[in-house]
């Protein structure tokens, strides 16, 4: 049986079936991301002063990814326009460009941005130990500047000292590596009979020189980890974690929302790849149907771009 209005528009609504379907789906997607964004707002408003970090993400890389996604939105709309004008070769080129953009976006996220976060380490200091770590926190300076306090010392794990069944032991970086990986450190700590004595953290610029006015606000280009090392005793630690979701509300929001967004990008790339490789048959039989399919997938893709337009400033910039 032929399904009506599969290609041409239904006269009363002016819409073909898939157009109606995708917009209903996008409306539900708005609610999905709306829920996540509202929990972001909730957690951020509720965060005590100093508990919402700034400047932990790599802004140039985020900007690059934003540009890539905007570029892919242009190429997918051009792919659709090419089909409308019955130019298959042009369509193929633009579609390929879209897929490449989507893949680049995902590759940057999964092979660079996220792994870099997993190697970075942060220690929240207990309140009564603040004076002891003042040289790394610089809260006197921040109070003078009327800025939020700094509660955390971040950087790479240079060394971790533990006791194993009462005997002192040091965990050092593996050969050819510059720092102890936080996952590895967590692994050691979860072993039986192991107790943490201290972390020796190779400091980020902001903790190495916390009273420098230049460090009050985040910079466009992230500063490299310094050579300076701070020893943080186990007794003074409120919590310690790599930049994993459990590090803070901020990172759990970040990984959840960018993760879900990344899955959307991945789904889009899959669909586009299908259209690229297997679209010719339908195009020859009914080019308008093929154009409609690309339009629908394109609408989804633009929505994903639209979500990123909000994700980028709220996590990277503000």
């Amino acid at each position: 049986m032929q399904i009506p209005y599969e290609v041409s528009a239904r006269p009363d609504t002016g819409l073909y079936n898939a157009k109606l379907g995708i917009w209903l789906f996008l409306a539900s997607e708005v609610m999905l991301f709306g829920g996540l964004f509202s929990s972001y707002i909730f957690l951020r408003i509720g965060a005590d002063p100093g508990y919402w970090p700034h400047g932990l993400l790599n802004v140039p890389v985020g900007t690059f990814n934003t540009a890539v996604l905007i570029g892919s939105s242009v190429t997918v709309v051009l792919a659709w326009a090419s089909l409308k004008m019955r130019r298959w070769n042009a369509y193929w080129g633009w579609m390929l460009a879209t897929i490449i953009c989507g893949t680049v976006f995902l590759a940057v996220k999964l092979t660079y941005e996220w792994p870099q976060k997993f190697e970075h380490f942060g220690v929240f200091i207990k309140q009564d130990a603040f004076p002891k770590y003042e040289p790394y926190l610089g809260n006197k300076h921040l109070e003078e500047e009327k800025r939020e306090p700094r509660l955390e010392i971040t950087g790479h794990i240079h060394q971790m000292d533990i006791t194993r069944d009462g005997k002192l032991e040091s965990i050092l970086p593996k050969e050819k590596e510059e720092a102890v990986s936080p996952s590895e450190a967590d692994g050691v700590l979860s072993e039986e009979g192991v107790k943490l004595v201290d972390y020796q953290v190779q400091l980020d610029a902001i903790n190495a020189d916390p009273s420098d006015k230049d460090n009050d606000r985040p910079h466009f280009r992230q500063r490299a980890v310094t050579e300076k090392i701070a020893k943080i005793d186990a007794a003074d630690i409120a919590s310690a974690s790599a930049f994993f979701p459990r590090h803070s509300s901020y990172f759990s929001c970040y990984f959840l929302i960018t993760g879900l967004h990344g899955l959307h990008v991945f789904a889009g790339v899959l669909v586009f790849t299908y259209f690229l490789l297997f679209g010719k048959k339908l195009y020859l039989r009914n080019p308008e149907h093929m154009a409609n399919r690309v339009e629908i997938a394109g609408l989804f893709w633009h929505f994903v771009d639209l979500v990123w337009i909000f994700v980028f400033p709220i996590f990277y910039l503000l």
Partner: protein
């Protein structure tokens, strides 16, 4: 070489001949319409890229308080999102049915966001929290 298959086969079950004529007319009209828009799409893409640069730049300008920076960034982001929706997603020329969907979605999303206000005000106990401890 580009291939140009014939316009679509009729799919209108009620009145195939009429539908065919309509589809044909629709398509040639569409194609002309689309080709006119291609330049606009590229232009809008350029505007979005420039706006991205502006958002990044503005975030490093100190407007006096974090809240002001947030508001300004959100205005730029909303403008960008509006461009994507209106031009790339063709909402500017979309049918009323779609707009109806979106108006209702907007109302519900607004309600959802307002729920976060309950964090500050508890209407049942009548308490207002200015800063939680």
């Amino acid at each position: 070489m580009d291939e140009h298959p014939a316009p679509e086969t009729p799919v209108h079950p009620q009145s195939p001949t009429v539908a065919h004529a309509d589809d044909h007319k629709d398509h040639s009209h569409d194609a002309e319409h689309v080709s006119k828009h291609v330049k606009a799409y590229v232009f809008v893409g350029g505007v979005l890229l420039v706006c991205t640069g502006i958002t990044v730049w503005l975030s490093y300008v100190d407007f006096g308080s974090q809240n002001r920076n947030i508001i300004i960034a959100m205005i730029v982001a909303t403008f960008k999102a509006g461009l994507v929706a209106a031009i790339f997603m063709h909402l500017k020329e979309e049918k009323i049915t779609i707009w109806r969907f979106l108006i209702f979605t907007a109302i519900f999303v607004f309600g959802l966001f307002m729920l976060t206000l309950l964090h500050h005000v508890d209407p049942i106990m009548g308490t207002t929290y200015s800063k939680h401890l």
